[in-house]
Symmetry: C2
Subunit: 162 residues, 2 copies
């Protein structure tokens, strides 16, 4: 296992051919040291969330087999499910053509809840609303929450920033 945080070394980006057609993991981070990461349910293909990872989050995810992100609102490494029990088990990590985005395929865990879920608002997916194409108003695609956020998170601060 070479993916311990201390050991994980990314390749230097030297050419477009290397980045797009090669076997070296040579990710491109933003000035803040982040990459966008989309996470889907490995069984259903549903998009669960869009988060951000830094080098440590990538390493910890590979090392532990559980999704880790960088929380921009809390400015710290975020082991998804550490508070709620709603862990995301890693099935596959993909990287895109120019290696500036990650796709995680995961299996959702239910923790102490009756159903697995991913979203802090209580829905299964964070993308529980669609945009009506005619009116640009939002319509709910999930009609019931899978858990009560107040029970799961208590008085922990809401991560949504206005």
């Amino acid at each position: 296992m070479t993916t311990n945080s201390e050991d994980l070394q990314f390749a230097k980006r030297v050419s477009i051919e290397q980045v797009e057609e090669g076997h070296e993991f040579a990710p491109k981070f933003t000035e803040q040291g982040l990459m966008a990461c989309v996470t889907t349910d490995a069984q259903t293909g549903e998009v669960l969330m869009l988060g951000y990872m830094n080098q440590d989050a990538i390493a910890k995810t590979l090392q532990t087999g559980e999704a880790h992100y960088w929380s921009r609102s809390r400015q710290r490494l975020w082991h998804k499910g550490a508070t709620s029990g709603l862990i995301q088990k890693l099935v596959e990590m993909r990287v895109d053509d120019d290696q500036d985005a990650i796709w995680l395929r995961v299996t959702l865990q239910a923790g102490d809840q009756s159903d697995p879920a991913s979203c802090h608002v209580g829905y299964r997916s964070c993308f529980y609303r669609k945009v009506n194409i005619e009116t640009a108003q939002l319509e709910f695609t999930e009609t019931e929450k899978t858990f009560d956020p107040e029970v799961v998170y208590g008085d922990a601060p809401n991560p949504t920033v206005l």
Copy 2:
């Protein structure tokens, strides 16, 4: 139709409840005026790409029914497929809990190619490589390109930035 670029007005973000539980489309853009956008194949659920949208890209996508993005490398509005013919037909637009990310479900068009595709390198999805969990090296999940980028794009500059 209220989604013409000129007419599309987003709601002001006034409360967490409004943003997370409401019906108003009140997106949060970065300082650069962008939102991350994940695009999936509406039939297979496959993640095709991760791009960025500004207000105009959202409006044009709703108005035309074809995916538009903001190209960060070219710093301009990008009608996906305008050069290649590989248009993405909009099936559904979703927004996440805190309204800072978009999920587009699309149907891929083939243009003049034999098969539909999305990635400028020639693969169907931009995420054509997975990260080996043990070695952190990349392995190809698509073994054949669906089109020849040189034929489709000619000498147009490659959008990948090192």
